[in-house]
Symmetry: C2
């Protein structure tokens, strides 16, 4: 199909303001009479608060007020059990116990040291094993032991015992992952501006999910949602992270603004951001797999445990996704997967780009390589034998194409391994790796359920509105996080309406304008949000054609719009222009605007077994990584990553490449560098000098292969690539390292120590 904007690498619509430094981020916002607030954090990972004495701090000149739990007008408990300010007991060192509000941020910073908090330290748990020990101290009184509420999910397909009985070999392995920081370039920043009108407040800031912030701020104030307006400012990265922290900070700022009657700003330092915000959950996978000698998997039994940290963060959702994806994109006839999460007195896990799949893929793709080793097969062969293909069903028993969900994995495996010369290089490196610098090449594959699926109801709206001068305002409830959502939506609307993209104006999310479209997560932007955009644009286009039909005295169904020209397909001379129709519509009172709503509906899924329609469709990916390992220093150089992704239709190929480049580098960090090290509940690396993320010097050569498939679900057939791009490379890198060194590391990251000392090294900061 020939398109004018779809499949075109149009520049990002918001790129100019960003590269010129003109974009306003949360920290740039200023309001008349604005105050600054800073949080007093806990000094203990687990302790009862006996007393908070704010009197000394309040006396410091410039301090306006110091808030504690007793000042919260509404509910102090927010989504996930977080508190606006912790009053009873602290559960991790990022808990905020008081908020100092001052005329100047430096005064607020200084004054918080004068807040005296008396604690009674409590025994604490820092690891999964400690949390599950029989006599473990309980972190949340209402929970069942230290198991996170609603975090248990199972997938049961076939009969796993029968599957093991059929097997020639049984293999058991354990894999573990680490706390990973989002490391967005812009730390959290929010400003709450009280209205002079009674009981109305506006929150501006670096917020990923304005609607959840709205609800929680309303709760904290004891107001209703419509009294709270959340307007997103330009986001300097979020990756899932500006969620709980943005919610808590917004609630603190809102309460302070309400009580002082003045705008209140909170901007986190890098250390505070790393302390207070969510991380990628550490996961532990215990696999038992049955395999035939020919490589066919007969059964997989898996216990997956997420380390949640101090609060009921997103583990209930990440675990559901893990239950579907833990056994990979393989034709396993008998599956039993059990996933749950535990509380620990540590920093907490939450949403992070991939949402448990990078952990699952590292584990199952390491396992696949280990099965291949056991059977003497190569990594490609074991995957070719077991890969899901048309005619198969997913672990949830969803049928795959032809005529159903596309399943291009085998073809992608072939294309990527051929392009990377995978088998030849693998063989060659095995032979030539005689010196201290060893080369390796690794493979990993994945499929990913698109959108929220059975995790939660997936639905979002869009508004498309043509103005009198032909310019077009488009509005979504989803946020531009730097991923290119505004660009892709603008392309989609311009394509559908047959108009120039220059006409489109796309303001940031404002919760008073558009219905709650859910969070901007799960790679929903293009696929779900874009679909709503198509629907709204189609409705407006229908109105345009209706009016044009009246003008041209012909049936609207025979009219098309192309390059702002509207003409009859049966008589192309019969034509008019977009602007003429806009003016005519206005003169006869036709509204050229529409509000759409798209939802795939409630997933038809048995939640006890997770059998049924887990997701409306899936995307597929294949990654090959090449590494050089210095076995004398343990340093891993990632030389090249080739990343192939099935995106349905590539709405904007350059934007997709941008997503994949970023995804690879983020995965590289998880694979070889990054770990939030926690020791006795305290984080050892609270800034980017100690917490190492890849720099420009570390970035490998990257080859992005965009795969298009014929999938009718999304807008113009588009699916997603935001999360897929970052979920596979760490697994491929780990497999490449194992290939290079001959030693398998089963705990991420594959950092210097583990490469040197091997996989038996216990996790950093884990006692015993």
């Amino acid at each position: 199909m020939m398109y004018r904007y779809i499949r075109q690498a149009v520049p990002k619509v918001d790129i100019k303001e960003k590269v010129t430094g003109k974009a306003k981020y949360g920290g740039d916002l200023k309001f008349d009479g604005m105050l600054y607030a800073r949080t007093v954090y806990s000094k203990h990972p687990h302790a009862r608060i006996l007393n908070i004495d704010t009197s000394a701090a309040e006396k410091i000149p410039g301090v306006v007020t110091v808030l504690t739990v007793k000042d919260i007008p509404g509910s102090n408990t927010l989504f996930g059990g977080f508190h606006v300010l912790t009053g009873d007991k602290v559960r991790f060192i990022g808990d905020g116990v008081a908020l100092v509000v001052a005329k100047d941020p430096a005064i607020a910073d200084k004054a918080r040291k004068a807040v005296k908090v008396k604690y009674e330290p409590l025994p604490a748990v820092f690891t999964i094993d400690e949390a599950l020990a029989e006599d473990a101290p309980q972190i949340h009184e209402s929970a069942e032991g230290n198991i996170i509420d609603n975090s248990r999910h199972c997938l049961i397909k076939g009969d796993v015992e029968a599957g093991f009985a059929e097997a020639d070999i049984i293999i058991e392995r354990t894999y573990e992952t680490q706390f990973v920081e989002h490391a967005y370039i812009e730390p959290e920043a929010v400003v709450a501006v009280p209205d002079p009108i009674e009981k109305f407040i506006t929150i501006y800031g670096s917020i990923q999910n304005p609607f959840s912030v709205r609800g929680n701020v309303a709760d904290a104030l004891g107001w209703n949602m419509s009294q709270v307006r959340v307007v997103q400012s330009t986001l300097g990265g979020t990756f899932g992270g500006k969620d709980e922290s943005a919610m808590v900070l917004s609630a603190r700022a809102a309460v302070a603004a309400f009580l002082t009657g003045r705008p209140v700003k909170i901007v986190l330092s890098r250390e505070e951001s790393m302390l207070e915000s969510s991380k990628r959950h550490p996961y532990r996978f215990n696999f038992k797999v049955g395999v035939k000698k020919d490589g066919r998997i007969t059964a997989m039994e898996t216990v997956v445990i997420a380390q949640g940290g101090g609060y009921n963060n997103k583990a209930q959702f990440t675990n559901w996704r893990a239950s579907i994806h833990a056994t990979g994109p393989y034709r396993v006839p008998n599956i039993k997967t059990e996933v749950f999460g535990v509380y620990t007195n540590t920093i907490y896990g939450g949403a992070m780009r991939g949402f448990s799949s990078p952990q699952c893929i590292f584990a199952v793709e390491s396992l696949m390589d280990e099965i291949a080793e056991e059977l003497g097969l190569d990594p490609l062969k074991i995957r070719e034998i077991n890969a899901l293909r048309p005619g198969d069903t997913t672990p949830s028993s969803q049928p795959l194409g032809p005529g159903a969900i596309p399943a291009p994995l085998l073809k992608m495996l072939k294309d990527v391994t051929e392009k990377t010369d995978f088998l030849r290089k693998r063989e060659e490196y095995s032979k030539t790796n005689t010196g201290p610098i060893k080369r390796g090449i690794g493979l990993a594959v994945a499929f990913r359920g698109a959108g929220l699926g059975g995790e939660a109801l997936d639905a979002t709206g869009a508004m498309v509105s043509i103005q009198a001068d032909g310019s077009v305002t488009i509005i979504s409830g989803l946020t531009e996080n730097g991923q290119g959502l505004k660009t892709v939506h603008s392309q989609i609307v311009a394509e559908t309406l047959g108009i120039s993209m220059d006409r489109i104006v796309y303001p940031n999310v404002d919760t008073t304008i558009i219905p709650d479209g859910g969070p901007t997560v799960a790679s929903r932007g293009t696929m779900i949000g874009g679909k709503a955009m198509v629907m709204a644009a189609e409705e407006v286009k229908g109105k345009l054609l209706q009016v044009a039909g009246e003008m041209l005295n012909c049936n609207p169904s025979e009219l098309v719009i192309e390059n702002e020209r509207i003409y009859s397909t049966s008589n192309p001379e019969l034509s008019t222009t977009y602007m003429e129709v806009v003016e005519k519509a206005r003169s006869i009172g036709v509204m050229l605007a529409a509000l759409s709503w798209f939802s795939p509906g409630v997933a038809d899924l048995d939640h006890h077994t997770n059998q049924g329609e887990a997701f409306p469709t899936y995307v597929w990916g294949v990654v090959v990584a090449e590494v050089e390992v210095d076995t004398e220093t343990g340093k891993v150089e990632v030389v090249k990553v080739t990343s192939a992704h099935d995106v349905g239709t590539a709405v904007n190929p350059e934007n997709i490449k941008g997503q994949v480049y970023g995804g690879i580098v983020m995965a590289q960090g998880m694979g070889v560098l990054e770990e939030m090290e926690v020791e006795d509940g305290f984080v050892k690396s609270l800034n980017l000098d100690e917490y190492l993320i890849p720099t420009a010097m570390d970035i490998p050569e990257m080859d992005v292969m965009i795969v298009e498939t014929d999938d009718s679900f999304g807008p113009y057939g588009a699916k997603s690539v935001g999360e897929p791009s970052t979920e596979i490379p760490a697994a491929a890198i780990a497999n490449a390292i194992a290939h290079a060194t001959g030693k398998r590391i089963r705990n991420l990251p594959c950092n210097l120590e583990r490469v040197l000392l091997g996989h038996k090294l216990t996790r950093k900061g884990v006692r015993k």
Copy 2:
């Protein structure tokens, strides 16, 4: 019909913020780095600009820049021929020739005196006669003489010559009205805030018609409409006035903000407001009427001339309305009405509450009394004989009820004259008026076309959106001007949804949110805007019932919502609650929001004769005024006004009373006090010390009679009262004065001089 909110006197939803002084008006707004601008006004009513020297002003410390016509980046000519800054020649003394932008308003004020403008004065015209003189200097080169473009409208019904031939008596009379100031309590204030992002600007301010401001600001900047956002701040009165002036000031502030890159505020002083903003047009009516001896009118021929002032203001629209209403609500079989407007080098006429009808009603209702006098009939009798009634057709030949548009005038005449004891008092005063203080009682009636009718396409949208916590955001493109629009719309939405009004939140108009709903004029708020609200709420209610039907396993058509309870009419035990349905809808992905659009469509009207459907419906009014005239001082005391209005359904009786109270007092000002006196193009009364409006001490006893009629057009049968309430009382007061004194004043206002010296006094400020 029993309602929970309709027909209830609920308090205004925005009353608290207003009475506590917390509401933010345009003048209250502050932004970081804000500059202040003031305009350099013309020194001549008509002159060519030879040179503008800004150099001295620019050197004054604190002055940031001084703008003239050469600085306007886009079109300097705005709607109606107004200029952002006048460059070629000034046409009245309110023309702005330069804009001084400074750090402080006092500096800007001082600096504008240093701007040196060299003029070549031109011959000027100040009156209708001067404008129409054969050798009159032409004000606008493009116009036909001094006739305002598009201002000519005719109504032709029957054969007026045949009608005169049938008549027993022919009566000819001329009536004139004056320039009237809106005198809103809050003078104009706007702030333009440039976005750090390239080419986007937000205008906040005291703006009646945000969408027209948006379009004109975009033109002035040479941008498209979507690059301009207009957000209405709380309005301290407008009455039609904050339209052209708000447009011009917004364009000036926007250009200054764009060029300086900083927020720019313009707040007018009272003098500037009275100088620069529009007024109620002076009209001259030349009537020729044929009457039978029994009182029946056989024909009316009318020439109506509006004095427009320096620019092509709203005369083209007010004149169209005048063409329909000039002959009153009477069964006149033969009509020929011609209306046009002329330019003069004076302050300009524009929209003002009533929009030409107060002028028409003063004229035709004076005429009716004069006809009665000629025939020896009383004022009630002449109206009873000629009043339109069911079975008649309007001057536009629209049929009146039964089964068509209600026509309750005869009944209202009876009710009001009985309640006021009109005939008895009239007789009594005629007998007892022997001293210098004379009492009089007068009657006036009217009908009024509802909405824009054939004047322009009438259409507006509404958005109703239920949030997750059950609160409801409602959005309109129409503005709350103090008239109670937000209250009435909230009542309508709460009634339709069957929910508590407390759930509703209603933000001010923001042009990025809602499609252009046209101007908030023509008493459209309840009738047109409210209808759009009903439509949106009905759509949302349909979704609620659909979900409830699924929950209760019954047909949604048998469900009703009352007091947030949803139950089956066939089995009332089968029920659920609003909140349960909201939560369910959310869980299954049903969007509880709707965007509606209401338009009565293009009026089916012959624009040469104005025969056809001039308006979708009409409202009717009857007013009786009682006065005491001190014939030694000329002072008129308005003792009591009884005002009856057909509102269809009274959505909020107290709000209607509020409207009528204000309308009566405004009409009292026009009737006996107010006149913007213009002498040789200069205004003599530029502040409220000289321009007298009624004070609390002047206000008469007021009796408001709310009349309900069965009219299906508007929401819940509601029509309008905003303008009707102010269009009739001046006529009734003038008739009462004539009754008291026995002398008829045919030029408004009936001020001290005219009451003392009689109607032959020429208009103040008119030469010769």
